[in-house]
Each structure stands twice: as C-alpha cells, then as structure tokens.
Chain length 286, copies 2
C-alpha cells in the first residue's frame, strides 16, 4: 500500500493510473476504521483495478462545539487494516495542506433535504462534507466511490451533488454494518464506556421494534414515534437529538408511513456521545 | 465538428477520448462568438488533441433585472466560426436539461475578491459562473480551459475555484481582443447602435490615457481615477457603474498604484448596455 501525504504526489500517481486505463474505487474516511469502513474497501477492491482510501478528519464538517479535537485517531491500526484488505493507495493529508490560509471555495447542496435531520442539528456540516468529497473526487478521479448507509443523509447529499454537478463518479451506497448485539458500527463508539456501550443498544433496539411493527402493518407515525421514544428513554443516560420518520428521498416527515420508501432515523446522545442509526422501510418483490 | 445537445452523448464521447489518452481543451462560452472567443479556440486547438467548446447562456449568472432574455443568440453563425477554427466538439445544451426541476447544488468562491467589482454590482453572478464552469469541467474533463481576460475577475474566481477544489484542469487566461478602434470585443457590443458604438470607445480611451499616465510615473489613485472619470463622462450616454484601481490579485482598492501588480477596471453603462474593460499594470523585465 502506498501511503501518500502530499497531494501533488497523489495527483501524479492518479494521472499515471488513469493513463493506463485503470478503474479507481475510492473510500473516503475520517480514519478510526471499523468493519463498516472495511466493507467499503472490500467492495472497492472487488469492483475496480485500484482500491484507494483517504483518511482525513475534515475540520469544516465539525461545528464549534463538536468533537473535532478528540475525534479518534488510530493511524497505525488503520494502516494495518487497509493493508489486509489489499488497499493500493492511502491518502493521509494534513488539514493545513487541504485548507491553506485563504481557502475559500465551498460546494453546497442547497436542497430541502440538506437542512433536515443531521443538517438541522449540525448547521454547515453537509456543506463541509460535500466540499471535501468534491475535492477528493478531483484528487482521485475515481470511477466509483463508496459510502456507508449509516450516514444515510450524507449519501443522499453526495448523490445529489454528483447528479447536479455531473461528477463523472458512480456513488455506491453500502449497508450498515452492526456489532453482534446490534450496535451500528461507528468510530464514535470508541468514546463509550462499557456501561454506556450497553446503553447505546437502545438505538438499534428501538429501530428493530419499530421495524417489526411496520412489518406487521402499523402505518401511524405517532405510534411508531412513541414506541421508539419509550424504548430509548429506558436508557437513563440517553438524550434524544431527533427521531425522524420521513420520506426516504426528500426526508420530509411523514404522518402516515409509506411502506415503499420510508426512512426511520435516530440521533441520540449517550451522555456526551452523539450516535446515529437508521432503518429503511421499502417494498421488496421477489 | 460534432454538435452535441445531449449530455449523456457528450459524456460518452469524452469517456471515449479520455480512454484514447487524448488531451482536451475546453472553451466555455455563451455564444454570440467574436474574435475574442475565437482566439481561445485557436489556442485550445494548438495546445490539445481535441478542441471543445460549449455554448450555453447560463441563466443562474444573470440577475433578475439583467439581459438574460435578450442576450444575443446567433447559433448558426457561431457554428460556422467554430467549424472554421477546426473545433471538434460543440456542446449546446438546453437550460432546462442543465438545471432540471429540483436542481440545488452550487459552487461558491467565498473569497474577499468575489464580492468586489462586478461581484458587488451583480450579486450571485460569480456563484452562477463557478457552478456552471465546475459542471462543464466535470462533463468535459478538460486538461486545459481557456478564458478571456476581459472578464478579469471571472478568471480570478475560476482560478481560485480550481486551486481550492483541486480540479485537475489548467486554467489558461488569454489577452483581451479589441476592435481596430480599441473597443474590447464583447457579445454585448451587438446591443449598441452605431452612435452608441462610438460612445462606447470612452472605456478603452480612458484606460489608454490612464495606462500612459501610469507608465509615465503617476502613482496617485485620485489623479488616475479623475482622469478616467472625466474621459468617460465626455460621452453623454455613459453612466459609470464602477471604476476600480486595485491590487491585481486581491482586488483591494489601492490608494497608491503599485506598478508591479495593479488592475484598472471599468464597468460603464452606455444607455442600457453594460460594458466592461480593464488594463493590467505590471512590471516586465526583459
């Protein structure tokens, strides 16, 4: 695996690969890698000639009171995991080189759904995400880029950006990967004490209950909402940031659950740690 | 010359050319082509395997009271001129296909210099420009893109966008092309009656006088400003939109003219027609 810190070096490498007609698959990450990330790398490895990843804790997607400074950084362990997955290129730049003094250009998806859910709770977050992802797309010129559906809204925002601005990139969304007990994998799980780790199960448990009820025919928002709320509040250190029961494309809240395309999404604080999880309700015909 | 209206067709064509390792030079235009545009096409032809152009009157870079509806459209004549310059590909899309319903992603250079000069007078203009140019860069994947320095500030904005977002494109600025009598070529010159056409010479005349005075050692902003103002106001149908004497990189107004890097730029209405022109003061050592 080539570990590249300098963007000029990366660009030269990419130009070389493109000239050879190689297909490039990109997995942009903020590091602190877990099985969720690695499932993206595996897929990138499968579908492309070159499997590339980036590790960059993007400062502009964090709000002033968020966890930028203490976001987990586990570079050595990340490298080992990426090596094992036969990653070809890892880009690991300095924040000061990505955003030098006088930096000033932003990509913003000014769409209705950007301001909902996490967008409402984290102003500027998705502008930071779309800007850095756009920049990484220019640096890597990937044919495909892989994103996990735990960040469902992020996938929507990136797909919209790619579609609107005609990036020549295929966005590949990948399923949520969970721990055996149901907890959605997240770099932020590292923040949890063993006790809080147990409390954090309330997210996936609430979603499971909600999913089962919807599967059994429940269509009323309020019923499902209260079911989730009640389950989460059983955990004494849990504080609900939002519960969303929304159209899976527009993220408009729904009064009646449409079984063909509804997202049930949660953001919950376990003490100071903000966790998200979601479940997609759709109709499958087989 | 291939005239392409459909963006999928364009993308297929571009993918084919890229796979063959062809270098692509792009000249984005709004049509109503004149010798200024053609100088860009000639350069693109010289420096690349493929000379490509686009004609698209970009609605989002026009303000509500500007001349979008009446902007000159001369498609047949434009095609003839582009054929003559051996253009390979002309992209000529519909506005409704570029910005379909629900379009919502914008690239914005939030830099100090964006809000000065034309940016101050035409709010949102450069956001529209950077968005469409970014999109065209994704559609054409050019190695080089050519822009005329009559739109000096536009060149700065695009260079900044390319640098910040790491577009893999070289921006090539090209000199202003003038009519024999000095009028800077512009598609908007078509709006001028023969009488107003003569009045419009006040822009280049004022710049010439200012340039000569600076060449002879004048460094005082006020003196140069008043010289320009007086010259322009000799034309009875001229109304000054702005006179700028500024740092050529930051566009900050200067009290003392720095002979190594100063832009003198004008926007003047001749009746309803808004014209711009500029002159760059720099030190050349030979």
């Amino acid at each position: 695996m080539k570990i590249i810190r300098d963007e000029k070096e990366l660009q030269n490498e990419i130009f070389k690969l493109k000239a050879q007609g190689k297909k490039i698959g990109l997995v942009p990450t903020m590091g602190a890698l877990h099985e969720g990330h690695l499932s993206l790398v595996k897929k990138a490895r499968e579908e492309n000639d070159v499997a590339a990843a980036s590790i960059f804790v993007n400062p502009i997607q964090f709000g002033p009171n968020e966890d930028l400074a203490k976001y987990p950084r586990t570079f050595e362990a990340d490298c080992e995991k990426l090596e094992k997955e036969k990653t070809d290129i890892l880009f690991f730049p300095e924040a000061s080189s990505i955003y030098p003094e006088g930096y000033g250009t932003y990509i913003n998806v000014e769409n209705n759904f950007t301001d909902k859910l996490c967008g409402a709770k984290r102003p500027g977050h998705f502008k930071g995400v779309s800007t850095v992802v756009g920049m990484l797309f220019h640096l890597f010129q990937p044919d495909r880029a892989y994103f996990g559906l735990k960040d469902y809204q992020q996938v929507l925002v990136i797909k919209k950006m790619v579609k609107d601005l005609r990036f020549p990139v295929e966005v590949v969304p990948m399923p949520i990967i969970r721990e055996e007990d149901g907890l959605a994998m997240s770099s932020r799980n590292k923040y949890l004490s063993p006790e809080d780790r147990l409390e954090a199960l309330c997210l996936s448990r609430a979603l499971k209950l909600a999913g089962d009820r919807v599967k059994n025919g429940e269509r009323d928002r309020k019923t499902i909402y209260q079911l989730i709320e009640k389950e989460i509040l059983k955990s004494k250190n849990a504080k609900i940031d939002y519960i969303s029961i929304a159209d899976a494309q527009t993220l408009e809240e729904r009064e009646i659950i449409d079984p063909s395309s509804t997202l049930i999404a949660l953001a919950v604080f376990i003490k100071q740690v903000r966790l998200i999880d979601n479940l997609l309700v759709k109709t499958v015909v087989s």
